[in-house]
């Protein structure tokens, strides 16, 4: 019989968790509550003696200084409603798992199979609330009903029934090991029903290709020999659906595209990925020649470049959008711990040195109707921020760089980009660490977490738009500690070279990881019955495709197997032999001694012909706003500083540990009060060296409303500009592209597919043009192509978005530069030219317009500026540098000034302008977002040397740092057009998100 142990805070102890819930109920649901207190509940479903229960409650579960415990007796008192929230059966319960382990130490042996501890939380609400209010609080704030269950009990009922009865959310079921065969000799409609009902996300063409395969007499003959019928098993069909999913196969980036531009010129593109992304890197590497520093690009889980003779640098950025839309906390947590596995599963495995994160949300203060099923942007914001906080902080990886981008369309799907960099010895026992192979006969071993029903169909579900019926099981909750334990073990096994190959289990689970590994050596033979399960009741196909977290797949030479398994046991990490790699040419899956899938690798990985997608480019014609010149722009500057895209994100950033591992050199916040926004991060991965990694990024989805070509160009330039500003070197730098698009494939639901596809083509063209010009090899990336919401009535498509991450090296971290002005009397320089390019700007957004004059990047001019600036930085001539981006010169100057605690006086007449003079106005000079510009301050005695470094580029001295704590800007007609106190500017910038 299960027991409930309830842990309460002593009466006089503050309950910050309860206080926070109270604040959120008031802010968010507009309900008044007098008080919220919380109780932790452990439901112990194990055969323990009364003494053992007591010891658990009094020992590991309770802190005697501030808490009290009760066993099988309701502790709640003095409330009007109690809401208890726990997990649904099968959802990962990390605290429950740790509690069970703690009991194991107490009683001297682990809990028996089937025994477990389940956790829940009671929220005691006091106040004049109705039952309906309590329900609103439960479903609107406390409980995500997808993964959690709740009970609401009023005080009278609670007293009458003596509390809340113990409930055990155990997954019940027996392993039947059922394998079904699916009849494909059916009508087209029926084929599509099979795909849809099974969340296979296979198109009719794909279903017909599969149908044809099973009709082949040769195939049938071979199948008969292994005891399989002519029809596919569910295991096979699921494996194919995973392998061929947009998520895994990138069908849109591999498609044949017919692109027609605005003048009717046609272009045939065979695979955007090959034509633009791979070609970019190939051409850059060719141009670099002997100086090429790329070691492993596009073929592994992450890209690898050289760091120095002894170390290689690894980087990957992923997205986790669809799961975050359904369960923001779990989705984002899984996003960060999931991307951690990419560098760890690259080459022989890298030590993780930092995370980056970029979130795109709708306005958290959104107050209009939302389609059902969509969570409020504020909940998404809270959940995602907390998920990444837990994932990053608990893993001991500093979060060093990121941003928050807001646009109403991200209500349809939030974008959650998570990046992780790692470092690995260039060689391990004499062999290059970025290379790996598998030999037939190597043993298939899975390490880490167990397999459950969590995360089934993640890969296929994210390959469709979000809809009413998106599956619950697609959501997973990550467990950073299980993963951390596994990494602690594997990195030691790596240094002993106990394995030959490692990769992660992400989308598609074992089906994908073992499927891809099998290609390395030519086949596999794997027994699903050997896989460790969280609970019984999983069918073979579920075991194969489950995306349960914290698992790596390895190929182990037979001679190393015993040592590997013994070491895993010592480190408390589960490692299980699942089979062997072969050269049979077949993906051969058994359950016990029965074959359940027998797929030729040639069919699995090459059976799919490319899609054909039309693309038609018609430049949009947006209304061009007519702005009357004003005498004063101070109000506009304050309003811009308060806009969501520009305002301070400090309340989020401080929740992320950005300093663990001790390598932090340029932190997210800097300046006299540690609160100015840094452009990029500088991080020393090796503590007794001053060589540093620099990382920055660019993202400007707004510009897609004008032209995705320039959206991409500006994202690339912004990423590089941020990187260069703090001191990143142009001699060792690489880029990562993450495309998040709305569905660009023409269909009934997407009649504007050709336009969206043309936007994608244009963004890719920009990627090639600019990365080649900047000598920026692309080393890795990812695409997420179905970022739409559709419920049959309302369709919300995100603005096409490219996140461009830049990573590279700085030889001496002690030369890094931050964005805060340093001392009065320093001269203010503006590098780069300003043009009439307010199209898509934050300034136009403030005025309710988009416009057409999008910033255009002049790569050669930019490169000259960046090279000259870097030379000056190397010589120690730069006091501060801040990049100009959202909000233009005025915002950058204000930020640098209030970060440094000194004023600046700027003369707009001095700002170098390019283009038709008719477009030169105070508003343009203040707020235009023209690319490739940096605001630099320099000590007067260093000015001459500084100017010499920049010779031949466009730049000008535009002002001076002043003792007076004010920002002033003199307009082109001589009057002061901006004048504001630093305190006022900083308050405008800090207030909007301070309380979130």
């Amino acid at each position: 019989m299960p027991h409930r142990i309830e842990i309460t805070l002593k009466d006089q102890v503050r309950d910050p968790r309860g206080e926070r819930i109270k604040r959120e109920i008031e802010h968010f649901l507009h309900l008044e509550v007098a008080e919220v207190r919380t109780i932790d509940v452990y439901t112990v479903d194990a055969a323990l003696t009364a003494e053992q229960l007591e010891a658990a409650a009094a020992g590991p579960f309770c802190d005697p200084v501030i808490q009290e415990y009760s066993i099988d007796q309701a502790a709640a008192k003095d409330f009007d409603y109690v809401i208890e929230v726990g997990f649904r059966p099968g959802v990962t319960d990390n605290v429950g798992r740790t509690a069970a382990e703690a009991i194991g130490y107490l009683i001297g042996k682990p809990l028996a199979a089937g025994e477990a501890v389940y956790t829940s939380v009671q929220y005691l609400l006091k106040g004049a609330l109705s039952e309906a209010d309590a329900k609103k609080i439960a479903t609107g704030l406390l409980c995500n009903t997808l993964i959690q269950r709740y009970q609401i009990v009023d005080a009278a009922t609670f007293a009458a029934q003596g509390g809340i009865a113990a409930f055990v959310p155990k997954v019940s079921g027996e392993t039947k090991a059922a394998v079904n065969e699916i009849e494909l000799e059916v009508s087209d409609e029926e084929l599509m029903r099979i795909s849809r009902d099974g969340v296979l996300a296979l198109t009719l063409d794909e279903m017909k290709i599969i149908q044809a395969h099973y009709r082949d007499p040769e195939v049938r003959k071979v199948r008969a020999e292994v005891g399989l019928g002519a029809r596919p098993t569910d295991v096979e069909l699921e494996a194919l659906a995973q392998t061929w999913s947009e998520h895994c196969k990138h069908k849109i980036f591999s498609a044949d595209v017919e692109y027609v531009d605005e003048n009717g010129n046609k272009e045939e593109i065979k695979s955007l990925f090959k034509s633009f992304i791979q070609r970019t890197t190939a051409d850059v590497r060719k141009a670099l020649g002997e100086k090429d520093y790329c070691l492993s690009v596009f073929k592994d889980n992450a890209g690898v470049i050289r760091f120095n003779d002894d170390w290689s640098l690894v980087f990957k950025v992923e997205t986790h959008n669809s799961p975050s839309a359904l369960d923001p906390y779990g989705g984002a947590l899984t996003g960060i711990v999931g991307v951690n596995r990419d560098p760890f599963g690259t080459g022989m495995g890298a030590k993780l040195i930092f995370n980056t994160d970029v979130f795109c949300f709708a306005d958290p203060f959104y107050d209009k109707e939302l389609p059902s099923r969509l969570l409020h942007p504020r909940r998404i914001y809270e959940g995602v921020v907390e998920g990444v906080e837990h994932g990053g902080n608990k893993s001991g990886i500093p979060t060093v760089n990121g941003s928050l981008v807001f646009d109403e369309r991200f209500a349809g799907k939030p974008l959650v980009f998570c990046g992780t960099a790692g470092i690995m010895p260039a060689k391990i026992q004499g062999e290059p660490s970025h290379e790996k192979k598998i030999l037939p006969g190597d043993v298939i071993v899975m390490t880490g977490g167990r397999i459950g029903k969590d995360g089934i169909h993640g890969a296929t579900f994210s390959s469709e738009e979000l809809n009413e019926n998106s599956p619950v099981s697609a959501v997973q909750i990550g467990d950073p500690i299980t993963q951390k334990r596994m990494f602690d073990f594997l990195i030691r096994a790596r240094d002993k070279r106990l394995y030959r190959f490692i990769t992660d289990n992400g989308a598609g689970g074992l089906s994908s990881s073992i499927g891809e590994m099998s290609e390395e050596c030519g086949g596999c033979k794997l027994d699903l019955a050997l896989a460790p399960l969280k609970y019984p009741g999983l069918n073979p196909w579920e075991i194969l495709i489950s995306e349960a977290q914290e698992r790596m797949s390895l190929a182990i030479p037979p001679a190393c197997l015993d040592e590997f398994l013994a070491m895993a046991k010592r480190f408390g990490v589960e490692a299980t032999v699942l089979g062997t790699f072969t050269d049979s040419g077949v993906f051969h899956i058994l359950y016990g001694d029965k074959t359940v899938a027998y797929l030729p690798l040639s069919f699995m990985h090459a059976g799919l012909p490319p899609m054909r997608i039309p693309a038609r480019w018609e430049p949009p014609k947006n209304a061009e706003p007519k702005l009357e010149p004003a005498a004063d722009y101070t109000g506009d500057l304050n309003a811009l500083l308060s806009s969501l895209n520009i305002c301070s994100k400090e309340s989020v950033v401080r929740r992320y540990d950005h300093e663990v591992q001790g390598g932090s050199v340029v932190k997210p916040f800097t300046g006299v009060a540690n609160d100015g926004p840094s452009d990029a991060a500088v991080h020393r991965p090796i503590l007794d060296s001053f060589e540093a990694v620099v990382v920055g990024h660019g993202i400007v989805p707004r510009y897609s409303d004008i032209d995705a070509y320039h959206m991409a160009a500006n994202a690339i330039d912004e990423g590089l500009r941020n990187y260069v500003a703090v001191g990143g070197s142009l001699d060792l730098v690489a880029g990562l592209d993450n495309f998040c698009w709305c569905d660009p494939v023409l269909s009934e639901r997407t009649p504007d597919g050709p336009y969206k596809m043309a936007q994608l083509v244009r963004a890719n063209k920009a990627l090639y043009d600019y990365c080649l010009a900047f000598s920026l090899p692309l080393i890795s990336g990812k695409d997420s192509m179905k970022n739409d919401f559709y419920d049959g009535n309302v369709k919300i498509s995100i603005p096409p978005t490219l996140l461009f991450s830049v990573i590279g090296k700085m030889e001496d971290a002690r030369k890094a530069v931050t964005m805060d002005v340093k001392r009065p009397g320093d001269l203010v320089y503006l590098l780069g030219a300003t043009a009439d390019e307010l199209g898509g700007s934050e300034y136009y957004a403030l005025k309710g317009a988009v416009g057409n004059h999008v910033p255009k990047v002049d790569a050669q001019a930019a490169l000259a500026t960046y090279s000259g600036y870097h030379a000056a930085l190397e010589q120690g001539l730069v006091a501060s540098c801040h990049d100009l981006s959202d909000g233009g010169l005025a915002v950058a100057a204000a930020e640098s000034a209030f970060a440094g605690g000194f004023g600046v006086a700027i003369d707009l007449c001095q700002v170098p302008f390019k283009g038709d003079k008719a477009g030169r106005s105070d508003a343009v000079l203040l707020f235009s977002e023209s690319a490739s510009r940096l605001l630099v301050t320099v000590r007067p005695e260093k000015a001459a040397s500084f100017e010499a470094c920049l010779k031949g580029t466009t730049f000008a001295k535009i002002g001076e740092v002043s003792v007076d704590p004010i920002v002033t800007m003199e307009g082109i007609n001589g009057g002061i057009v901006v004048s504001a106190d630093l305190d006022q500017l900083k308050e405008s910038w800090q207030s909007p998100l301070r309380e979130l």
């Binding site: 503050r14 910050p16 802190d63 005697p64 200084v65 740790t98 382990e101 591992q661 540690n674």
Partner: protein, 274 residues
């Protein structure tokens, strides 16, 4: 002279082992060994062979039962493989031998939850204080000014003139006591060696964000009565070089960071004593 040997325990969610070992080496330790907890439990590594035990930052067991609770339970109950000796007995012997323990952040949480701090009256296994959720209810990464009590017995803070500047990075750093008598004893014996203060180190403060968590009497770190065992929420290992300071690009700072003195004092004490 004795070779000063430091041990940094890692595993189950400890995160700061590399920078802690680095700080030990910079501070003058001849050896700084990072040992996984499984190496202690298997008997491969013996605590007895070291002088200075570092219990450093991280999220032991994910803070799942409250910070460090699960590890405290593990150390108290788990036995060393093939022996009947529990790890806690090894640690008690280590203390009795006059050796040093520094707990930082999660390590401080572990020490108080095992009862090893403040250990009034020399009872190292009775918990009387705790560290719990910050008043703001959120994790915080920010730098804090810490006023040092020059009369404290802590050997780690000896020589700090007024105070030091270090980062805190925690969600559960609010220091609380079981009774007023405990707090009175901590204060009268000068065991609260570091307190959150204003930037001039004039007085302890209860104001956020200078006091980032709402600790009673602004207590950031305490030691036992011998001064050999100390725990603190701020991270001394995170400030051993000027480039780790948030304002190093604008202030004239010495090469060495404020946190290094902890490790230098420990190394000197060991070389002098053993």
């Amino acid at each position: 002279m004795t070779k000063a040997k430091a041990l940094v325990i890692t595993g189950n969610g400890t995160n700061c082992e590399n920078e802690a070992a680095h700080a030990c080496r910079l501070g003058g330790f001849d050896e700084a060994r990072i040992a996984h907890i499984s190496e202690l439990m298997s008997g491969e590594v013996r605590l007895d062979d070291y002088h200075f035990l570092n219990l450093t930052g991280g999220f032991l067991d994910g803070d799942d039962l409250g910070s460090a609770k699960a590890q405290a339970n593990r150390l108290k109950n788990a036995t060393v493989e093939g022996k009947s000796e529990r790890l806690v007995e090894q640690i008690s012997r280590f203390i009795a031998d006059g050796k040093l323990i520094l707990g930082v952040c999660n390590g401080f949480q572990l020490l108080v939850k095992m009862g090893m701090l403040p250990a009034l009256g020399g009872d190292y296994l009775k918990q009387s204080v705790t560290l719990t959720y910050n008043n703001a209810g959120r994790f915080q990464d920010r730098w804090c000014y810490l006023k040092c009590d020059a009369s404290s017995p802590s050997l780690y803070t000896a020589g700090i003139s007024q105070g030091i500047y270090l980062p805190v990075r925690h969600g559960e750093g609010k220091f609380l006591v079981d009774t007023q008598a405990t707090l009175d004893a901590i204060e009268s014996k000068h065991l609260a060696c570091l307190k959150y203060s204003d930037s001039q180190y004039t007085a302890p403060t209860m104001e956020f964000p200078e006091n980032p968590n709402g600790s009673v009497n602004a207590i950031a770190g305490i030691c036992d009565e011998t001064g050999r065992i100390m725990g603190l929420m701020p991270h001394p290992e995170a400030f051993v070089h000027r480039t780790q300071h948030p304002r190093w690009t604008r202030e004239e700072l010495p090469e060495e960071g404020d946190g290094l003195i902890f490790f230098r004092n420990a190394a000197q004490y060991i070389k002098k004593t053993f």
